[in-house]
């Protein structure tokens, strides 16, 4: 009797387990088919190249060798690394003071600053590109204003590597501020007051009390930035120079305009390799904050 009751419970449990699996099956299938499989396939397709005779494939690093010996590809890679590095640095330098201010300030002015810092999240990057061209481009608003007070034109950043830098920094301010602010939430008022009581100045408090406690948040913000900027497409495509171009536009052009998927996928795999450390760190931090 008791045996049959137990088996009945077990039966219900596995049936419920099966229902759960069925309910999550389609999204999980999509992740496997559209994220995991493409990555495996991308690596496979670029190291097992088709033979010259047209029959079968064999192991070859030809496309990678081409990328790392082709001066144009290398220039694109280095401008991408430069842009990513500069943007990450600028974002920390700009957003850390804003986040520090927001952590300790109260009132309407602080709310206004926070609202503005988050606002770019609600401006699609394509509108941003257009706005930057209208303001900083040739004969843009800045030129108009300078001209009206008799000053010479600026050297427009539009279509130079600084164009994408300005756009990408603007675009990434909200999430960087939010991530840093969330990290600053872990710094207690008591620890700061205690340091102040023993005579620590503002810089000493920042250096010895605050920065060590939010270093992890800074790393998360930097990882997120690197992942987003390394293969950014829209802003570099619209605002950046035609050559050297960043990896995003480079991959797009190789894939669509040059109709050369194998080399485009090689570039994608190279981008994966450069970002994998940041990607894993970022995903690990997100996962740590969340219980299933």
């Amino acid at each position: 009797m008791s045996l049959s009751a137990t088996s009945d419970i077990v039966g219900t449990k596995t049936r419920r387990g099966l229902t759960g699996l069925l309910l999550v099956a389609i999204p999980v299938f999509l992740v496997v088919w559209m994220i995991i499989w493409p990555i495996i396939s991308a690596i496979g397709r670029t190291i097992w190249l088709p033979n010259d005779g047209g029959t079968g494939r064999s192991f070859s690093l030809e496309t990678y060798k081409f990328f790392f010996t082709d001066q144009y590809s290398l220039n694109n890679l280095s401008v991408t690394l430069w842009t990513t590095g500069i943007c990450a640095l600028l974002l920390v330098l700009i957003c850390l003071p804003i986040a520090l201010y927001l952590r300790f300030a109260k009132g309407r002015l602080a709310a206004y600053v926070q609202g503005l810092a988050i606002f770019p999240m609600f401006v699609p990057s394509i509108i941003l590109s257009y706005a930057i061209i209208r303001v900083l481009g040739p004969n843009g608003t800045v030129d108009l204003l300078l001209n009206s007070v008799g000053l010479p034109h600026i050297r427009s950043p539009y279509l130079t590597p600084w164009g994408p830098v300005i756009g990408l920094v603007w675009d990434n301010i909200p999430l960087t501020v939010l991530i840093l602010l969330s990290g600053l939430g872990n710094v207690s008022n008591q620890s700061i007051e205690a340091a102040r009581d023993v005579g620590a100045g503002r810089l000493a408090v920042l250096w010895h009390i605050i920065l060590p406690r939010i270093s992890n948040s800074i790393l998360v913000a930097v990882s997120f930035t690197v992942l987003g900027i390394f293969s950014a497409f829209t802003l570099p495509y619209v605002l950046g120079p035609a050559a050297p171009e960043m990896m995003g536009p480079f991959m797009q052009r190789t894939f669509r305009d040059l109709n050369d998927p194998t080399n485009a996928i090689t570039q994608a795999v190279i981008a994966f390799c450069f970002c994998i450390v940041f990607g894993l760190f970022y995903v690990r931090s997100v996962a740590k904050n969340r219980n299933p």
Binding site: K13, G17, L23, L116, F119, M121, L145, N289, R290
Partner: protein, 273 residues
């Protein structure tokens, strides 16, 4: 800390940030807004010579603008609908049911975020090439659908978990069936958060440019893709400005609804903060 409040010092840091951010963030957008309502603005004049709605009529008379608005709306609707159909039951299962591999499957939705996005899109495009999905509506739907999965599962899971289980049990005790409990107790409590997730995924899909450009162009032309071609090839400045204002409408709606969600700490936590 309290005595600084009493002194009411002028918050110079705050004023500095407010002014700097207003110039950097609001000013460029105001310039675009001004261009959209300008009939004539020739070079050295600091303000436009003539304001007016002339270019709204001209922009709205263009067939490519209407076809891309229709394309964007139908793509975003289709993607959001499909995403809701497949993700919400999955979210319910993750929140309420126990099944083998639950944790790893839950975290598998992060996989797409460990890689640079455009690289991943190129890898997917390599697969779509073999399936003849390049340049098709459904190819773009699929690629945008994948982009919504994380939001549409993680946010609703949190919503279902926040529902008061005691109320559900109480309803069951007085004889309500499982569907009645779901409809009358669970859904009203989880509803607002789920609605926010649906809105976010609609708006996110509406502005998704990279997948639409890589997979869809030139056959599938969404509003952001049209905007790129306006920036690159359109000598009439006002067309782009009017399109920018039109393009901003969904974002504005999202802004009205989502501000409260984003200001709360849990949103930043979702990004690993």
């Amino acid at each position: 800390m309290a005595h600084t409040l009493v002194e009411k010092r002028i918050d110079w840091t705050g004023i500095l940030f407010a002014v700097a951010l207003t110039i950097v963030i609001v000013f460029p957008l105001l310039v675009v807004g001004t261009w959209a309502f300008t009939n004539v603005w020739r070079y050295p004049s600091v303000i436009p010579q003539e304001f007016g709605l002339k270019f709204w009529q001209q922009t709205l008379a263009r067939a490519d603008v209407w076809s891309s608005i229709t394309m964007s709306l139908s793509l975003a609707t289709m993607v959001t609908l499909l995403s809701a159909i497949i993700c919400l039951p999955a979210a319910y299962a993750f929140a309420r049911m126990d099944f083998p591999g639950r944790s790893i499957l839950f975290f598998s939705f992060l996989a797409g975020h460990a890689f640079p996005k455009f690289g991943l899109l190129v890898a997917i495009a390599g697969i779509f090439l073999q399936l003849n999905l390049i340049g098709t509506f459904w190819g773009v739907v699929l690629i945008q659908l994948v982009g919504t999965l994380l939001f549409m599962i993680w946010i609703p899971v949190a919503a279902f978990q926040a529902v008061d289980r005691r109320m559900e049990e109480a309803a069951r005790d007085v004889g309500a069936g499982p569907f009645r409990v779901f409809w009358s107790i669970t859904l009203p409590q989880a509803g607002p958060t789920i609605a926010a997730a649906v809105l976010l995924s609609f708006v996110g899909t509406f502005y998704e440019t990279e997948g639409a450009w890589l997979i869809g162009a030139p056959q599938i032309r969404t509003l952001p893709v049209l905007m790129i071609s306006f920036i690159n090839n359109q000598p009439v400045i006002q067309y782009g400005a009017v399109l920018s204002v039109l393009l901003w409408v969904p974002s504005f709606i999202a802004l009205l609804f989502a501000r409260r969600v984003i200001s709360s700490g849990s949103f930043a936590k979702g990004f690993g903060g």
